[in-house]
Subunit: 380 residues, 2 copies
């Protein structure tokens, strides 16, 4: 999918630190966090009017490295097929920003960061964070970059929740919004899948109440959590296409080894996840997702009434983790609130992963949407 | 749901032991197992012609106690709402038999049983068993009870797989079959969910390669496995009805305690599962389910050609673990094979659990089907 020739090329992660105590960031819980570092990347150039900035928001296990290549890396950023010269988020037209969320483990302040009070990793002393807290921290980064209004905020899954929270928290700072494969509030089934992941991590004795830094890591617990996640990101059909019931060649004498390819794949992806993800971050971020409910169960209509933001909402028919009906609810709320809204339901078979994979249709939709929004911005 | 007045009343589990070495049961793998004990219960009376026997087949975590009450128990057997006087499987008309599968842990020989060679629990020395092995063992019990032909074999989920295997292995011994909420072969998604459960158990250090008997049990691993299972047994809609986003009252200071009711429910069901289920049995039985493929990927049509068995196939629209399309495939194969088949897809919202819950519609279907089959038997 990733065409190196069309890539933005070599990129670097940068870091912005703010909220040095006593000016710590006040969280939704009332607790404070500081200093706060955000890892972020930018692609393309901010125009002189500062009207072409787009904020890309990542999902649960994503990071700031959305596009291009880090020096020496073979694989590009996680949304490189959507961000680059001539791509959906065209770096020749727009200035793209992507930052790792707080609570994360990919350069931004999270439970693995050093707690200034103890000079040791926070672990569970890290305060509970919310999607709103993530967005408030991002807003500080946008201030720092000298940007008043964002042309667009876009993202899938938890990225889509941040998109919705941006519109709710800072409606005057967001010209347009692209929430993809997401929801305004988690269903009990969605909470339940996250809870299984958390329980798997906490069941691992190496987790040790989150105090595993510098010691043996809860690799197996995190692996099981990741395996559950992977199943929910794919669809029945896409798993059939990818694995069928093909058997694994390396069937050993162990009765419960991976007999089918799908088992080997999940084990491999699970076992490798520890290399790039902190188990405590998995706990904190899934909790933030489960608690996300910006309208307090009331739906978005009231909150969005009169909002100037234009919406492009994208859902996927085979996504059973974030079923299309949840995106339809967002679209209905927007329309009831009189907000300019396009809703598109794509016929992908890739399940929830579709927002990372269905490049062609998304490119078509996003390109035209951003063009229309840009024209609107130039007219104002 | 369970009306004590209509219950069959007090019942007892019985045990049948056979295949004493050297006449051990030869398994599909070529390995042997013996002696083999089957725990079983019977309800109602076998008629003098021995033409009214129905074999009930249980699902993954079920047992021989399908109906009535064990002395002193408050709760009846797992399918008491379907089996009893005047119920779908009417104990005033039929002789019901239900036996715990081999590999299980509810009285039948399984990995927790004593290995006669070592005089210690088998653990992983227990041979891999298949659905066909389970059915072959049941056939020995049916012989023992002096029954030549079964009026019907019926069951949901893994019980439905045993139903299909009965028809494939012993077509001349089965007048009719009721496979419910089942499939002729597991999809990779279904394998994947089982594999997550297995990995969760094996990730628990107390599992200790299956040698935990008499020591600390892999409680946490089994609990995570059970939590995953529970999610797949319910539907998005039924979880919404049951839990919504209601918060749990006992929210404690622990950041990752059960904040939502759904989390507390899953944890409770997970933690309690160890009281009635052996983790090694969970490994063996899920493996048997994943490996089930009586037609070797070819579909049932060829195997069933000319089979005298009548089918009533029941599926549920909201069952996403065993989606209706899998039952439709069974129905199509039956019809192509010229087998007398009724296919019913019920509008339940209970997900996979529906076969345990949707009593009224199932009773209607099963009652009429059994009546018709009984008439056919009397005519022959």
């Amino acid at each position: 999918m990733a065409d190196k020739d069309k890539s933005i090329g070599i990129v670097e992660t940068r870091y912005y630190t703010f909220a040095e105590p006593p000016d710590a960031l006040v969280l939704e819980s009332g607790e404070t966090l500081g200093p706060v570092t955000l890892a972020y990347e930018t692609y393309g150039k901010l125009n002189s009017e500062k009207t072409n900035a787009i904020l890309i928001l990542h999902a649960l296990t994503g990071d700031a490295h959305a596009a291009g290549f880090h020096k020496g890396d073979k694989h590009p950023g996680w949304w490189d097929n959507m961000i680059g010269p001539g791509k959906a988020f065209d770096t020749e037209k727009y200035f793209l920003i992507c930052s790792n969320v707080i609570g994360g483990c990919r350069g931004s302040t999270g439970p693995a960061s050093i707690n200034p009070e103890t000079e040791r990793p926070y672990g569970l002393a890290f305060p509970l964070i919310t999607i709103k807290d993530m967005v408030n921290a991002q807003a500080r980064l946008i201030d720092h970059l000298g940007i008043d209004k964002l042309l667009c905020v876009a993202g899938g899954s938890m990225g889509g929740m941040q998109v919705l929270q941006w519109v709710v928290s800072y409606p005057e700072r967001v010209f347009s919004a692209i929430p993809m494969a997401t929801t305004i509030v988690h269903s009990p089934q969605q909470i339940a899948f996250n809870e299984v992941g958390r329980q798997a991590i906490m069941a691992d004795p190496n987790w040790d109440d989150g105090n595993y830094y510098g010691r043996r890591l809860p690799v197996k617990g995190l692996s099981v959590a990741r395996m559950v996640g992977h199943i929910t990101y794919m669809s029945d059909a896409s798993m059939k296409d990818k694995f069928g019931r093909r058997e694994k060649n390396e069937k050993g004498p162990f009765k419960f080894g991976a007999a089918f390819e799908v088992e080997g794949y999940l084990q491999y992806r699970g076992d490798n996840f520890i290399k790039r993800f902190d188990p405590n971050s998995y706990l904190y971020i899934t909790k933030a997702i489960d608690n996300f409910d910006p309208s307090d169960g009331q739906g978005l209509t009231g909150i969005l009434k009169g909002a100037p933001t234009r919406f492009l909402i994208i859902a996927f028919k085979s996504d059973w983790l974030y079923p299309a009906y949840q995106s339809q609810e967002i679209a209905r709320s927007c329309k009831r609130a009189g907000v300019d809204t396009i809703y598109c339901e794509l016929n992908s078979t890739y399940g929830h992963d579709a927002f990372l994979v269905e490049v062609d249709e998304q490119t078509h939709l996003v390109t035209h949407f951003l063009q229309r929004v840009s024209e609107g911005v130039r007219e104002t």
